[in-house]
Symmetry: C2
Subunit: 499 residues, 2 copies
């Protein structure tokens, strides 16, 4: 077993450097002073260079070849070999300078994105040339990696190993018309829930305090994690015993902080649940971003927007915000948080229209990476596509093309995993419910550990031992099947809309 | 000039890794969750390993030899060669494992120190074995480095290049009886100032807010720095454009936050003032810790406890804390912050007894490193020496041997530089005053940039281009001379004590 152990140890140092990079990046997004980005960008790219050097060293292929000779590898060991080889092969295709450029440009571009977002305008902002550079670097990266015949699939594969543009497009294209029709059907109901109560004034510090109370109850471990604020909410593991989330608060929209926090908490519970044996190893990752998003979106939506969840939490909310909620009925509040209505901001979107936000980005990214759209056309393209899919036109770019941080960091190919997450979530949750039909009753009692135990057992502990397709088959006995999601939507929303 | 440039570039990567290490350490001391120390310790030691590898590579000595052949090096270039050679030679004497052990043990020990300090007891705490390990590792380090015949001088030299135990002991031994006599003389006065006003209740959040207002006025650049809270206040540069300070607040002792903040601000102004050419280079450091402390202690004491400083600030303080200060006269407040009286906590000590706190640590460190004191005797030795020098016995170890973080981090040989700082400060300030006699009048107007300009010109911009002894000679035309300090004390405190 020495060969496997040697390989494991070799990659532990890479993992630690990745954690170091996460610390640098977490700090940049939370507390770093505004004028300090140039120094941080150089540090981030240096750490990426060191990771790249270690990944591409000839030592690695020796270690991999040795490990491959070992007989009777268990699942974990095979996965270590598989992931080590994947990372090594990908890295060897990329020149060191490209890796450093991607990181450094991303870190600089994010700061420019923040400013452009504040000014609500992409065109003419300092973000434009940096975003152009991000896109060019991603095209170059995809050309170099070339793991798939088309560039966009190569990028998608970095976040969702095994997935391709065609596979995802096929799924999305089937769901798209159904979602559009579903939104129309709900809209035609004569007894629609109302959202106005969520748009009253809610003190932002109280929101933050309450959100911390919520994650505690959801079993987020505050001795091995924390919550802070940032421009764009995110989850990041700074070590195998340190997983942090961020949230943001809006005084006149309660959803932003509450559901944002539950979403990130879902991600964090995944990272906090890797079994000890894979701590610090190459397997201390989610198995794919789609599976990662399944955890965040399951807690945010299936649990966090369920009636039973609010049977437990609503009295606490009424105590925090008596001026708005004291006399407001639970049933109406439950309707309010489940209003289905096209809106501008993805992270605040309801469960039904959310998929359309993703499909929009998915289609734009495909064209962007194939050079069919230029960065300086991006705002127009966004707005006209948005009109087409969601029937609304953003008033400015802050509620349009500038709302998300991802392209700022140079992440292209990440977005589709969000919606895959919703689909995976419904399918996995349906299995959980089959095995433990009383789960919703738990929520009504403020008891969330039974679902967590199920997820720890079936999803979290494994880290990236299994590929997404293996995992969903192990759990549910079939490939990803979007019908679970569509069925979930009908069963949930018809009663809310009196249909 | 390529040889010099190559050397410079080579060390820039080392400097960046040191900055990365500072980010990791800053986070550990401010926001890191309590259970996450094991992961962080491993990251810190990995970064130290990478630094050590780069410092000891055979490439470095080649680069140094090439650079040495260059003719007509200017001061900055000569200093780069000097410092590069020093760091290289020191590093080559230390095995990689020792470097990693020192870092990892320090990071673990600091967390144990925090807990022991909370419980107010060293003996029997988990800090004891870790502190023993710190001491053993420092002894091993000193034996390996052996830059001086005695171990303690070798450690001191790491913080105060060129200084030895004998040189410092000679200075301290001359001052010690004078300080003791001076304290007695003040104590015998019949019109002593009173400190009680500082011991009333001051809201800690208001203290923090006010302290941020103060550092702004002192020209701390908040776009390239920030202030947070930590168990032990410190200053750290996380890049050449990112210098952060921390403070701590005590509800019933105003000095802790106010003078702690001004102290750290003084450090930060030094780091923020390095000239652009040395940013990110091996010279982007204070020239010694003694000179660094001269900056913090000058702002804290010579400026921050001067009458003119409070002529400007007192009205603001009265506005923040009207319940305590509205009717309290400025003259009495000025007396209160300048009460000279033996007390337990070094960082809160007055300017006169402060030196005795340092002499105590200096003598203990010498014996500890020579094996004449063991860690498990440390509390007793501390208390009896404290009684001897300051006439008081600490009630518990939190106000005794556990008050400082330094030994937790494994820093031995650092303490004497604080008092050297006071001595350097008086000597440098005396020159500043000769050239700009109106400086104190500036403070009364809330104008602090003239002193800063003088310090930028004479001290800050140079970073570590000059050694401490060269610098003090360049500025004042003589070696370190403690008489400036003693004269300063007399001129300041006799009037306050009506002598």
């Amino acid at each position: 077993m020495t060969a496997i152990n040697d390989l494991k140890e070799y990659f532990i140092e890479i993992k630690r450097l990745q954690f170091v990079s996460s610390v640098l990046s977490w700090d940049q997004q939370t507390y770093m002073p505004s004028g300090s980005v140039s120094g941080r960008a150089k540090q981030l790219s240096l750490v990426q260079k060191l990771i790249h050097q270690r990944l591409t060293s000839s030592k690695v292929s020796e270690l991999i070849q040795e490990a491959k000779k070992t007989n009777d590898l268990n699942d974990m060991e095979s996965a270590m070999v598989r992931e080590s080889e994947r990372d090594h092969l990908l890295a060897t295709k990329l020149p060191e300078k490209l890796v450093m450029d991607i990181t450094e440009t991303g870190a600089e571009a994010v700061e420019a994105w923040k400013k452009a977002r504040e000014q609500k305008k992409l065109k003419g902002s300092t973000f434009v040339p940096l975003l152009e550079k991000n896109v060019a670097l991603q095209i170059e990266q995809a050309e170099k990696l070339a793991t798939h015949p088309d560039l966009y699939s190569t990028l998608i594969d970095l976040f969702e190993p095994g997935a391709t543009y065609d596979w995802i497009a096929n799924i999305f294209n089937k769901i798209k018309p159904k979602l559009v029709a579903f939104v129309k059907k709900l809209d035609s109901s004569s007894s629609k829930p109302k959202q106005a109560i969520l748009r009253k004034k809610y003190d932002v510090d109280e929101q933050f305090k309450l959100s911390v109370e919520m994650i505690k109850k959801l079993n987020f471990d505050l001795t091995h994690g924390r919550q802070d604020r940032s421009t764009h909410p995110f989850t990041s593991s700074l070590s195998s015993v340190d997983t942090r989330i961020t949230t943001r608060t809006t005084e006149d929209f309660l959803n932003e902080c509450i559901f944002g926090t539950i979403h990130e908490c879902g991600h964090a519970l995944y990272d906090m649940g890797f079994k000890k044996e894979i701590h610090d190893t190459i397997l201390a990752n989610g198995c794919s971003m789609g599976i990662h998003e399944s955890q965040s979106r399951m807690w945010e939506n299936i649990v966090g927007r369920s009636k039973e969840f609010w049977q437990y939490w609503y009295p606490t909310f009424q105590k925090y915000f008596p001026e708005n909620l004291k006399d407001y009925p639970l049933e109406d509040f439950y309707g309010a948080i489940n209003v289905v209505k096209p809106s501008f901001i993805r992270v605040n979107a309801d469960e039904v229209t959310y998929g359309l936000h993703i499909i929009l980005r998915f289609e734009i990214e495909k064209d962007l990476i194939e050079g069919k759209i230029q960065v300086n056309e991006l705002a127009e393209v966004w707005n006209s596509k948005f009109e087409e899919l969601l029937g609304l036109t953003p008033l400015d770019d802050a509620e349009g093309v500038l709302q998300d941080i991802h392209w700022g960091w140079g992440l292209i190919g990440y977005f589709p995993t969000y919606f895959l997450g919703s689909l995976y979530a419904s399918q996995i949750y349906s299995d959980a419910l089959k095995k433990q039909p009383s789960l919703p009753e738990d929520y009504a009692k403020g008891e969330f550990s039974n679902l967590l135990t199920y997820l720890r057992e079936n999803v979290h502990q494994h880290g990236s031992i299994y590929r997404a397709n293996d995992l969903i088959n192990r759990i549910t006995g079939e490939d990803l099947n979007p019908d679970y999601f569509l069925k979930y939507l009908e069963e949930k929303f018809y009663p809310i809309y009196g249909i």
